[in-house]
Every structure is written in structure tokens, then in C-alpha cells.
């Protein structure tokens, strides 16, 4: 239906999340700091889990905490992302659909993003993502032309560079936060690094 824009910050953190746990299924929430109406601008993401994705308690907890944080920081939850452990299958799992449904209850133009693990190696030049939107109560594949990643080459370069420098080890998801609550699941440190690496001319980070 509508256009979706994915920011550098959101893409890089999702990518690093998948790289940090290459043998696990991982998921997270997509956030927007833009006002409603027009294109959906995904400006940030919160990495959530790398274990037991289908189980309810921690997911519910994370959704509530992120919701509260969003209302404090003028953001809203606009979507959900997931990468499956089994690289050959990037289709949404029942739990992905369930969580995306919940998000869609609060936000009409919610997006469901699946990371295609098979296309993440350096020789792939296109974003390894597949997006779905809600049409007639079903999640259907989005037209690729409605998905925008501004400065894609730069974003891709930043993601690769941070992976090589080992920056993915700095990423904190909600699971890791529960293992050590001094760790920050809003990932301010990583956000700052990404901003530093993005060119000053690009005000859209």
C-alpha cells in the first residue's frame, strides 16, 4: 500500500543483531519517530530475543517496556523483524505473524520484515530483507518499489565496517539485558557509532 523507508540506524542494528547470533532465530521491533501519515519511516529498531521466540512472558514484557519507552521519547512501534535460524527458510513463522498482528492492532500500516540470512554475505549487493504489509487481514509481500533505503551503499558499507571491527559484540538485545540489566537495550553507544560513521551530509540517520 504505502511507502516504507528504512533508516541507516535501523538497518545496521538489525543486521548486527543477526550477525551477533548467526545460529539462532532473532527478532525485534521497528520504531518510528516521525508523525503518522504518508510514508512509514522506520528510524530505529529494538533488538528483542535470540532464544525461545514463541514463548509469551518475555515477549509481552519487552513489548510493554518498549511501548513505555516509546511514549517517553515520542516514538511509536511500527513493525517487527525476524531472522530465522534456518537460513534456507525466510518465511514468517506463526509467532512472527502473531506479534505483527498485535502491532497492527495499534498501527494500521505496520510492517513485517524478514531478514533473508542466505543473502547476507558480502557478495550480495541488495538489502537482504523481505517486507510484508497487511492487506485484507493477511500479511502479503510488499512491492519492492515501495521500500526505500536512502544512501543504501553507505548503509551497507557502515554495516560491513562495524561487523569487521567487532562492533556487533556491543549490541544489546532484550534477552541480553535480562541476563545483565546494566546493559542498555536502547543501544545508545551503537547509535552514536553509526551516526559518526554516516556522512555529515546525510541528515537522515
Amino acid at each position: 500500500m504505502g511507502e516504507v523507508e528504512l533508516s541507516c540506524r535501523a538497518y545496521v542494528k538489525m543486521y548486527l543483531h543477526a550477525c551477533l547470533f548467526p545460529r539462532c532465530s532473532i527478532n525485534g521491533l521497528l520504531l518510528s519517530s516521525s508523525s503518522a501519515g504518508g510514508a512509514v519511516c522506520v528510524t530505529d529498531c529494538v533488538p528483542l530475543l535470540h532464544s525461545h521466540l514463541p514463548l509469551a512472558p518475555i515477549t509481552q514484557l519487552a513489548l510493554t517496556q518498549v511501548d513505555v519507552w516509546c511514549s517517553q521519547t515520542q516514538q511509536r512501534i511500527v513493525g517487527y523483524y525476524q531472522a530465522n535460524a534456518c537460513v534456507s527458510d525466510s518465511s514468517p513463522t506463526p509467532c512472527a505473524l502473531k506479534i505483527a498482528d498485535k502491532i497492527a492492532e495499534q498501527f494500521n500500516n505496520a510492517v513485517l520484515l524478514m531478514i533473508d540470512g542466505g543473502k547476507m554475505s558480502p557478495d550480495y549487493r541488495v538489502p537482504p530483507i523481505v517486507m510484508y504489509e497487511r492487506k485484507d487481514s493477511r500479511w502479503t509481500l510488499k512491492d519492492k518499489h515501495t521500500i526505500m533505503l536512502r544512501q543504501w551503499e553507505e548503509t551497507r558499507a557502515i554495516a560491513s565496517q562495524m561487523l569487521e571491527s567487532g562492533d556487533h559484540m556491543l549490541l544489546v538485545d532484550f534477552d541480553s539485558h535480562l541476563d545483565d540489566i546494566t546493559k542498555d537495550w536502547t543501544n545508545q553507544k551503537l547509535n552514536n557509532k553509526i551516526a559518526e560513521l554516516a556522512s555529515p551530509a546525510n541528515g537522515n540517520v
Binding site: E164, D179, T186
Partner: protein, 305 residues
């Protein structure tokens, strides 16, 4: 998917100022703890073998095995093959080494050949559990969950004490949303490992997910049990708060149950707040989490009717 990283040029011993003995001891610790920090194992192990191989004595063989498996995990087939060849030379008829050959084929996604290797081992030695488990891993890698579950169940009928297998089965069931059977596996694990707080907490999460008043009460009991075993388990603490809150809010419970659960929830909330205040002390960046938790607890609070 495993992404191949470029190799750093500085040596491990230079970077971390360690001698070869410390590197060898670190590898042993990782073996004992069954860590899957494959990139680290490859970095340390590759250097240890190439620079100090002669000093390792008979330890070198188990290190070759450890490094080989880690190398497979990191798509370093060159290193894996080197290790494998050394092991083949030293132990030409070993089933253990044959299993490693099979694992390499798995990593290269040559599953049919890998299965042939494991079938050959099992023909020779039908009780070889390692080969059986590798065959199940192949089913999992191929996305054949139903078959993997069936094979693992058959395996467990014979090898009922295999903890790792019970846990693997519980994970498979959770992924298939078969929570009843996942709970059964976790019950087995709790029986044989009564002091393991993680099994209690996972069991509680499964019960909570199943839903319904009875399951919620069970989940609350097991979250509480997990906390008794480890009072720093935050998942258990949050789980206790959430399950008690839900029970108290249920229209189906009597006044006493409601009151008791509100008490449990209130206690859990205090502990959560305390833990976050402690965690947030001195760190600016954690203010978000502390405030968010306070508000979250407030928003989840049950009001007295």
C-alpha cells in the same frame, strides 16, 4: 548464516599479552564449559597449533578436534581440513574422527554423504550415540522438524538419561508450538536437575504461554522456585510479577487467591525496582530502562475492585 570476517593481523598473544600455556588452558576451559565461542577458539587455537604445536604433547589431538569444529562454525574449511587430516593420520580407523569427517560434510551441506558416514559408523557400532545425534542434527538443518522430533523421541526411549537430548527436544517442541510436549521434556530435566534454576524458569515460561488459570498458577509456582534457586534470575522475577498479576486480575479467583497473588506481585515489583535502581546507579545511559520499568509496573498494576 555465518558471515565471514576478515582475519586480524595482530597475534592473539600480542593482543592479549598471554603465553602459550594460558592459551592452552583457555581452550581447555572452553571445552569443559562447552562454549560455542567459535571465532575466539579459531583465533586462539590456530595460533597455538601453528606456533606452539610441538609443546602441546598429546593435548594437541583434542585441540585439533576442538579447533576443527570451531573452524566449521566459522566457514574456515581450510583450517578444518588441516585439523581433520592430522587427526586422520594419527587415528586412521577411529569412529570419532569419522564423525568429524561427517560434520565437515554437514558444514558443506553435503547431507547425503554425511548421512552415509554416520550410517557406516552405526553399522559397525549401533550404540554410537554421537552418530545418531548427528543424523538428527541433519534433519534439523534441513528443516525437517517433524522427523527430527520423531527420531529424537526414539533415541530418548533408548537413552533416557541424555540431558542434552531432552533439552534439544524441548526446544524443537517450543518451535513447533507444542507446549504440552515441551513441558513434559522440561519436567524430565527438572526431575534429574532439581537445582537448575534455568529449567524451572523455562518450564514456567512454557506454562505461562499455554495460558489458562491452572497453567498460570503453575507458572507462578515455578517462577518462584527458580528465584529460590537463583535470586538474581530477572526472567523469573518478571515472570512472577506477570503471572501473579494476571491471576489476581482473573474474575475466576476467590478473594483469598486474589489477595495472595497481589502480595506476590507487589513483592516482585519491589524487587524489580530495587534491582533496576541498583543497576542504574552511576550510569547515565540506564535512566531510560529504570524509568521505563517504573512506568511499566505502574501500567500493569491491578486495581483493587
Amino acid at each position: 548464516a555465518c558471515v565471514v570476517k576478515e582475519r586480524k593481523m595482530a597475534s592473539v598473544s600480542e593482543l592479549y599479552d598471554v603465553g602459550w600455556e594460558e592459551m592452552r588452558d583457555k581452550l581447555r576451559k572452553w571445552r569443559e564449559d562447552n562454549c560455542r565461542n567459535s571465532e575466539q577458539i579459531v583465533d586462539v587455537g590456530e595460533e597455538l597449533i601453528s606456533e606452539h604445536g610441538s609443546k602441546l604433547g598429546d593435548d594437541i589431538w583434542i585441540i585439533y578436534e576442538q579447533v576443527m569444529i570451531a573452524a566449521l562454525d566459522c566457514s574456515r574449511d581450510d583450517l578444518a581440513l588441516t585439523c581433520l587430516q592430522e587427526l586422520r593420520k594419527q587415528f586412521p580407523d577411529s569412529h570419532r574422527v569419522k564423525r568429524l569427517s561427517g560434520m565437515r560434510l554437514e558444514a558443506l551441506e553435503r547431507y547425503d554423504e554425511a548421512n552415509k558416514h554416520y550410517d557406516a559408523i552405526l553399522q559397525d557400532d549401533p550404540t554410537n550415540t554421537a552418530a545418531r545425534k548427528r543424523k538428527i542434527s541433519i534433519l534439523k538443518a534441513q528443516g525437517k522438524s517433524a522427523e527430527a522430533i520423531r527420531e529424537l523421541n526414539e533415541y530418548l526411549e533408548q537413552f533416557v538419561g541424555d540431558q542434552e537430548a531432552w533439552h534439544e527436544l524441548s526446544e524443537l517442541y517450543i518451535n513447533e508450538h507444542d507446549y504440552g510436549k515441551a513441558a513434559f521434556c522440561l519436567e524430565e530435566l527438572m526431575m534429574t536437575n532439581p537445582h537448575n534454576h534455568l529449567y524451572c524458569e523455562q518450564y514456567a515460561e512454557v506454562k505461562y504461554t499455554q495460558g489458562g488459570l491452572e497453567n498460570l498458577e503453575l507458572s507462578r509456582k515455578y517462577f518462584a522456585q527458580a528465584l529460590r534457586l537463583n535470586n538474581r534470575n530477572m526472567r523469573a522475577l518478571f515472570g512472577l510479577y506477570m503471572s501473579a498479576s494476571h491471576i489476581a486480575a482473573s474474575p475466576k479467583v476467590g478473594a483469598k487467591v486474589k489477595k495472595d497473588n497481589m502480595k506476590y506481585a507487589a513483592w516482585a515489583a519491589t524487587q524489580i525496582n530495587r534491582a533496576y535502581k541498583l543497576a542504574g546507579r552511576g550510569t547515565k545511559e540506564n535512566k531510560c530502562s529504570v524509568k521505563a520499568v517504573e512506568e511499566m509496573l505502574e501500567s500493569m498494576q491491578i486495581t483493587m475492585s
